[in-house]
């Protein structure tokens, strides 16, 4: 229960930070929407841990709901890292184009 309250407190802190950053125009609208959705989903999941436990059990998992959520979180993080790697590769390609252009212009 204490852990759940702590998690809710942290999520609310991040949501308020996010809103503040958006109001300060430090975040684009699309980015704000994405992270707001992310933290709201996290909030819903933390609040409904007991229901998730029941769902996970009915699906045949032996681990508690929080463990399954953590596993999914790791999978999602790995996917984001992969997306980030592709984005870096594209930026590197663009950087090379600029460097080559400047070299040829001399």
């Amino acid at each position: 229960m204490i852990q759940q309250l702590l998690a809710i407190f942290i999520i609310i802190y991040f949501i308020s930070r996010l809103t503040w950053q958006y109001r300060q125009q430090a975040l684009a609208r699309s980015e704000y929407r994405f992270w707001m959705f992310f933290w709201l989903v996290a909030l819903v999941l933390v609040v409904s841990l007991k229901q998730i436990d029941r769902l996970v059990l009915s699906l045949g998992f032996s681990a508690p709901g929080i463990a399954v959520l953590t596993d999914f979180a790791i999978i999602i993080l790995l996917y984001f890292i992969f997306r980030l790697r592709l984005r870096v590769a594209k930026l590197e390609r663009d950087l090379t184009k600029v460097v080559e252009h400047l070299a040829i212009k001399r």
């Binding site: 592709l86 950087l95 080559e100 400047l102 070299a103």
Partner: protein, 225 residues
């Protein structure tokens, strides 16, 4: 030495090659029509040394890799209507004596691209592990993934006809450009020929870890495209 220059534009990518670049340029500049050195963000004065010769020197502000440097030099050569373009190393491992052999099939209109091969004769004294482990693995990977059957798929000594250079536009900035250029040459149905060359090994060169990086780069490029 013949006073008639070979009808070649030589592209030499160089990254921190101050130790070798002068002797390489002194050897090749008198032999060919033009030499383009692409200094790939060196911090050891490679560009300054190259500027003291008759070579054209292009500079990358930051290091972008051998494939990128070769592309810069090749694009510049095409803009200046070079008819035959040869890629050449800055570390003194290639022999200028092989240049005429490299372009002969293009001059005779027998090939659009010519690749130097270290395996067509026994003149190259290659490190044991490279010869018997790394290169067979490279050949195997190129055969499986690209359907390419070359004796030396990682050779950096290559000559392009004007037709070939207009058709091949490689994207790889790093060492994966070797495999990509070969693949594009096959894909565009260019006439390809391998000729024997001799490499003088001053250092080991590309290691197995470099091979894994090539595979990773090719994989990411496939996802991006």
């Amino acid at each position: 030495m013949s006073s008639i220059k070979l009808p070649i534009t030589l592209i030499i990518p160089a990254f921190n090659e101050a130790e070798h670049i002068r002797s390489v340029l002194d050897e090749v500049v008198p032999l060919v029509e033009s030499v383009i050195v692409v200094d790939d963000g060196s911090r050891d004065g490679t560009a300054d040394i190259s500027n003291r010769t008759e070579a054209v020197v292009l500079r990358h502000l930051v290091n972008r890799g051998q494939g990128a440097a070769l592309r810069t030099g090749t694009d510049y050569a095409v803009m200046n209507d070079s008819r035959i373009i040869v890629h050449y190393d800055a570390d003194g491992q290639f022999r200028s004596a092989d240049l005429s052999r490299m372009i002969e099939p293009i001059l005779k209109d027998e090939a659009d691209m010519v690749f130097g091969s270290r395996f067509l004769d026994n003149s190259t004294k290659m490190p044991f592990t490279k010869k018997h482990f790394i290169m067979p693995l490279a050949r195997f990977i190129n055969r499986i993934f690209f359907g390419l059957d070359m004796t030396d798929p990682q050779s950096g000594f290559r000559a392009f006809s004007y037709k070939a250079v207009k058709e091949i536009n490689w994207q790889q900035d790093g060492m994966a450009h070797c495999s990509e250029i070969l693949y594009l040459a096959h894909k565009n149905s260019l006439r390809i020929k391998e000729v024997p060359i001799t490499i003088i090994y001053n250092e080991y060169g590309q290691r197995l870890s470099g091979g894994f990086k090539i595979i990773k780069d090719l994989f990411i490029a496939r996802l991006l495209n």
